[in-house]
Amino acid sequence: MNPLRAIWEYLKEISGENAYDKYLVVHSSTHPGRRPMNRGEFYRWRQNEKYNNPGSRCP
């Protein structure tokens, strides 16, 4: 894979940009037949999840 492409893929992965696509894969295998959330719903849900269960961060 060319390096720029690899960096772009890494950025997508680390920023969570492709989280929805991964969710669709997991969802279809764990809950086949049930309607998955759409992109907007998924990100709203994910964001709430992240900040309502605050882990921590360093100064």
């Binding site: 950025l11 920023s15 998924f42 961060r57």
Partner: protein
Amino acid sequence: MGNSIRRYGVWVGIALVGAVCWGVLALSRGETVNAGWLLFAAIASYAIAYRFYARFIQKKVLETDDSRATPAERLNNGRDFEPMDRRVLFGHHFAAIAGAGPLVGPVLAAQMGFLPGTVWIIVGVILAGAVQDMTTLFFSMRRDGKTLGQMAREEIGPVGGVAALVAVLSIMVILLAVLALVVVLALAESPWGSFSIAMTLPIALLMGVYLRFLRPGRVLEVSIIGIGLLFLAIIGGGWIAESSPYADFWTFSPNQIVFALIAYGFIASVLPVWVLLAPRDYLSTFMKIGTIMLLAIGIMFTLPAIQMPKATPFAFNGEGPVFAGPLFPFVFITIACGALSGFHALVASGTTPKLIQKESQTRFIGYGAMLMESFVAIMALIAATTLDPGIYFAMNAPASVLGDTVQSASQAVNGFGFSVSPETLQTTANNVGEESIVGRTGGAPTLAVGMSAIFSGLIGGPALQAFWYHFAIMFEALFILTTVDAGTRVGRFMIQDMIGNVYRPFANPSWLPGNLISSALIVGAWGYFLYVGVNDPLGGINQLFPLFGIANQLLAAVALTVGTTILIKMGKLRYAWVTGLPLLWDASVTLTASWMKIFSPDPGLGFFAQRGAAQEALANGELYGTAQSADDVRQIITNSTVDGVLSILFALLIIIVLVDATRVWFGIIRGRKEPDLSEAPWEESRLDSEGQPVEEREPVGTGS
């Protein structure tokens, strides 16, 4: 055989490079030393530590087992539990542990010269900080991602658990106050800085709307737009600073910024996260990683010379203007992040362990990310020590000592035993586009001047130095404010949780009155310390920063105590020194510092001595120290009382945790107590080392 000789040959080579670099640093006399020696001493030491010591911890002490399924695999729910690629997880973990701490501490500690800070950052991270992060990560992972507080309660007992909780909440308050103080000191009287930081609010708002309504989840896209706008805001700040009516409008006094920050912190905590917090989080993460990479490249290419001496007289006489107290223990208190930071134990338990694919990766993620943070601290130290020491002290001594003019500052610096001409101070201020750089304490402006010198050596030359200075200020302020947002929120949840135990409705995080009251409590708490810090007649950062360091190291003591306890329970008593020795060191540093802060008869160092001296002065109708009025003296009395009581609280907490843990240790060693390990049961892993399910792996040798 030939192979292993070659392999070890490489390591012998690295060891030699490291030894030579260390030698040059230690033996340098008088003349300046190139920063390259420092950089390569650090890199060689990290490489050897990672290859040998971290491997020893992984193989012998923790005995990681890759055939054992991690919680991410067993409990995979596609949300908080999910096996994540180790490189991606490394990025997340690093972004969560590395904030403003590793940038501020080394800059302040540079008053003692470059060597004490360098040695502590490198040796500390190898033997203590990275060990704490790695072991905490591992133990939390073996317990399905339990938090530090839960582990303390289960492994030590309820007393240890409560102490950990109190430690976390109080460190949060002091931390937020100190960080906000750094921002205030960087932005006060600086129209350029104030304008560009203020612009991050509309930018974040725009990004929030974009992410929520226009293009949900397009994080990269919106971050690129946001960063572009951020650069425009910095350039715009330059225009504002040059055009007088706007410049006056955007010039704020420290107290105006204090109240703006307090209001902002409250609003950001009450609002839903998508409005401000989440978009700023993206912005600051990208800015952080980008700027750190740029700084590394800048130092490698420009290889600046270190101007600060190896050790200044302040390392021995304890009379430093930036913070009081002798080298031991105060260098080890001032530099926490980058060497040993208890705060990391909160990240390493709870979030990251739920995402690890394989047990052996705790070395790369826990130990490796901490080495990386240590490297950031080294770069901050380089940026600060490549400045002319005269400029460094003129920026970092309390404003009350330096006076208002470049002439008085120059004289004061001469009094410290360094020299800087008034003209140099004025030229430097002009170069970075500020009215004055005198008494700009807090570490951020110093680092920004150092960084701007390095960046402009790389791109743009002197013409762009003002831009780079404000770029650096923006970068620091941005992620400090993100920490203030996020930390206030964490504190708010903790308070809601605590009150929720007594009064039910509070436990529901979305109950509005509970939200408002808890937010007000946490903002009020850090706001108080912030206000007091900004208005402290003796200079706030030098009073508050040691408290922050002590609180942070207190948390490290809790984490290392938990680690030692678990090692003993695992039957690994002969390896208990791996966390036990750092614990012993950390406890002696923290307790000595607390002791001095509480009992020292020197009013410059001991809070209660200071209180006594100020009271005496007040009773005699005199002024105390740099106080300008009787009210100032009264304020000094109040401040030193509050700070002193906090020091006592922190010291007591450490002693309680240690005593409680010792009871558990001896119980187990003497066989009186069952070592009740609360690990999750063993289950076989069905993932290969790349995280792919074993069944789906393509058969080897099909050829394609």
